[in-house]
């Protein structure tokens, strides 16, 4: 036989020699290693490929039992295959196992064996061995990658669709655990305590026969560094992947691993919104493993997915909380809130609106807003296109309706009540809608009416006796009822002056009350400031001429036309000019300017008067307040003029302010917004 050189005990015949050459040539040039074993597994013969494939010399392996080279874990399996092969003749058996290379590494081999024990020429088992390490790794990796990708895909889908976070994480772990063939797959959540993170195991998957660790107190709020895994902690916190095996671990780390019966672990940090959130890990309790880059990469992708879904979950939670808060506000607010779609149909109606409008949200939604209510202006029905909601829907404008606009809602059930409201455009569910907030003003209207009556009555009741005082004093002083001497006449005149002044104060007080209660009605007209000022200056001529005060007015051509309430504007100008005349010494000067600023017209009145002391400046617009120097100069002032002017200016949406230096003069400014608001709700 062709191997008789090595094994002389084997029979050989001369006529076989031609065949022997043939076989030798075939076997020894094969890519695979061919081994002939006896029934006990002893190597009888092997081809020289053993050197190329596994690093051994032919001599050092011959006569050794093959099992010496087989991975201990695989020995049983191989032995079983051989035993099976012994029972079956001529039927090849295939087995995959790990064979030790001479350099100590394990090679994965595929062996095909056939029983030639009974063959006289062979008398053994012929085994062809092929190194499939690379193929096996590639296949395995591909399989695992597929499994992992599948797991990730599955998990991603779950994370995006499922409501249960726990179930999703557990599913992800199961997929990963199964795909990688580990014993334990888990997720730890971190909790920052000072500079350190404490980790708690919150989700896990365990393979068959492995116990759960979820309630292991050692894995609750654990500190990796205190545990002796400081290196892991550092790596994790800096976002790196950690691999640890018993074989390569430090003494301290090994103890920890053994304490958990772990041979190898792989930990991947989970980062959510750029902050460490926790980690996902895999333990192998059976084998020491080296994790391939592909696996690590795939697991990292799983960690990224986890991190992203944590972030998403947080966002969802925030949105949900916001929504809950908004819901709570909407349903608890005392104002009625209604959202009306571009088709003029009701989308939302809150409980307060349900109450006031006497309709349930269920009944109202889907109906046209005009079916839910009717709007009255005073007693007349207001045409629908002019309804605030309709205007908002049509033009995207905000509309504000106040009590003095005199609008009423009439419900389907027939209740009519005064309303104030505000509407604004709102993007809602991709639709242009109008949001309406309104309030039932029945009580306020009553109060308002009684206040209005009060103003009327008070003004009448105060003025009647004042009229008597005034007229009687007048008749005394003019001598209509008999001539008085000089002193008597002076006294009568004093009474008349006092009564006149008192009347002015009452008028101002009433006007102030009226403005402050929002009852000032504005009549907007176009005002030519030149004519307007000329008119006022003519009326006030004496105030200035008597003291020889020069008056100049400068009007910016751009402010040639103002839209405003002429009578209110007039009161403000007279008030400020009156002060300028009163508090400017003889021979002084007053300059009136009407300037145009972006969006507004600004009036200013500059005088060379006594000025306002710094200490008095903050209080100058307060009711009844008078600057100390003004009080010394003219003890009789009411202290209401500027308060009144301010109320008026603010009533039309303008501003009033001043600059002043004591003993040098004062400039008062006030503004009129250029686009005088059209009366909303009308």
């Amino acid at each position: 036989m062709w191997w008789s050189k090595n094994r002389n005990q084997l029979k050989s015949t001369d006529q076989d020699s031609g065949q022997e050459f043939y076989w030798r040539a075939l076997l020894e040039n094969s890519l695979d290693l061919v081994v002939v074993l006896d029934a006990a597994g002893k190597i009888i013969y092997l081809t020289p490929q053993v050197k190329r494939l596994f690093g051994y010399e032919v001599a050092e392996t011959t006569d050794k039992n093959i099992s010496e080279f087989i991975h201990p874990e695989d020995r049983g399996r191989v032995a079983k295959t051989i035993a099976d092969g012994l029972l079956v003749k001529d039927k090849p058996q295939i087995v995959e196992f790990r064979l030790r290379h001479k350099d100590g590494s394990w090679r994965v081999v595929e062996a095909i064996g056939a029983n030639f024990l009974d063959n006289v020429a062979v008398g053994g088992l012929i085994v062809s061995i092929r190194d499939v390490t690379d193929r096996s790794r590639a296949e395995e990796a591909a399989q695992r990658r597929d499994a992992i990708l599948e797991a990730l895909g599955f998990a991603a889908e779950r994370f995006l669709t499922t409501a249960s976070w726990r179930k999703s994480v557990e599913n992800l772990l199961e997929q990963l655990g199964t795909a990688t063939g580990v014993s334990h797959a888990y997720v730890f959540e971190g909790e920052r305590v000072g500079k350190e993170m404490l980790f708690t195991i919150n989700y896990e998957w365990v393979s068959r026969g492995i116990g759960s660790r979820l309630n292991d107190p050692r894995l609750t709020r654990l500190s990796l560094s205190q545990m002796g895994l400081g290196r892991l902690d550092k790596e994790l916190m800096s976002g790196r992947v950690v691999q640890l095996s018993v074989g390569s671990a430090t003494e301290e780390e090994r103890k920890v691993l053994e304490g958990f019966e772990v041979k190898s672990l792989l930990i991947i940090p989970v980062v959510a919104e750029h902050e460490p959130w926790g980690f996902i890990g895999l333990d192998d309790h059976k084998n020491e493993r080296e994790w391939s880059m592909l696996e690590v990469g795939s697991l990292k992708a799983a960690a990224d997915l986890l991190g992203a879904s944590v972030a998403r979950l947080r966002l969802e939670k925030t949105i949900e909380e916001e929504r809950d808060r908004a819901d709570a506000i909407i349903s608890s607010m005392s104002e009625g809130l209604v959202v009306v779609g571009s088709d003029e149909r009701v989308i939302i109606l809150n409980p307060a609106a349900e109450r006031m409008l006497q309709i349930s949200a269920a009944e109202a939604t889907g109906r046209r807003w005009s079916e839910v209510i009717t709007i009255l202006e005073g007693v007349e029905e207001k045409p629908q296109p002019a309804w605030p909601v309709m205007r908002t829907l049509k033009d995207g404008v905000r509309v504000q309706v106040e009590l003095r606009d005199n609008l009423y809602y009439r419900t389907r059930a027939g209740r009519t009540f005064p309303v104030v409201m505000a509407t604004a455009p709102l993007q809602f569910g991709g639709m242009n809608t109008a949001v309406l907030v309104f309030r039932d003003m029945t009580e306020e209207k009553k109060i308002d009416e009684s206040r209005s009556n009060f103003i009327a009555i008070a003004s009448h009741q105060l003025r009647s006796p004042l009229t008597t005082i005034r007229w009687y004093a007048e008749m005394l002083s003019t001598g209509d009822i008999g001539k008085l001497d000089k002193l008597q006449k002076e006294f009568a005149e004093r009474i008349l002056q006092g009564a006149t002044r008192m009347n002015e104060v009452i008028k101002l007080l009433l006007a102030l009350t009226k403005i402050e209660s929002g009852r000032t009605e504005m009549e907007l007209t176009e005002i030519d400031p030149r004519a307007f000022l000329a008119d006022i200056l003519k009326e006030m001529e004496h105030d200035f001429v008597d003291k020889r005060i020069r008056v100049a007015s400068v009007i910016d051509p751009k402010a040639a036309q103002i839209v405003g309430d002429a009578s209110l504007l007039r009161q403000v100008v007279i008030n400020i000019l009156g002060n300028a005349a009163r508090y400017t010494p003889a021979e002084g000067s007053v300059e009136i300017r009407v300037g145009s600023d972006p969006g507004e017209v600004v009036f200013s009145v500059r005088d060379t008067g006594i000025g306002i002391p710094d200490a008095d400046k903050p209080k100058i617009f307060q009711k009844f307040f008078r600057a100390s120097n003004a009080m010394r100069l003219l003890p009789d002032g009411s202290g209401l003029g500027l308060a009144f002017a301010k109320s008026l200016v603010e009533a039309w949406g303008g501003r009033i302010w001043f600059e002043s230096k004591e003993k040098q003069g004062t400039i008062f400014y006030f503004s009129i917004p250029l686009l005088q608001l059209k009366k909303d709700g009308r």
Partner: protein, 125 residues
């Protein structure tokens, strides 16, 4: 009817006020008739045919607005100029009175009696 003095009807419940009108108007050579409320005012407007009416608005029983409304319903009385003299200084009241036919409107407390008499004289010319 030359020399015959013109008649002024004063509808005013406040005697202190109507007394002043009385003195001042008589000094101007006018005949003054007094009424204390809207109803009496209407009667005297019909019976006495005044050349001018001075009307207060806040009156007991039938007030000044009522009077104005009644007058406006009677074509023969429509021609009599009515001057409102009231302490109701609100714009709504003034507008309402004017709408109902009042020729002029004075807030008593804001006016001097001399000024009012001057105005009356212009209406009587």
């Amino acid at each position: 009817m030359a020399g015959k003095s013109k008649k002024v009807l004063v509808i005013e419940d406040d005697e202190l006020v109507s007394r002043v009108y009385g003195i001042k108007l008589q000094q101007e050579g006018l005949e003054v008739i007094m009424a204390k409320d809207g109803e009496e005012g209407l009667q005297k407007t019909m019976s006495d045919k005044p050349d001018l009416v001075l009307l207060d608005l806040m009156l007991p029983n039938k007030d000044g607005f009522w009077y104005l409304e009644e007058i406006s319903k009677k074509p023969e009385l429509k021609q009599v100029p009515v001057i409102v003299l009231s302490n109701l200084g609100q714009k709504v009241d003034m507008d309402k009175a004017t709408e109902l036919g009042a020729k002029d409107y004075f807030v008593k407390a804001d006016s001097s009696i001399g000024g009012i008499v001057d105005k009356i004289k212009t209406y009587l010319k």
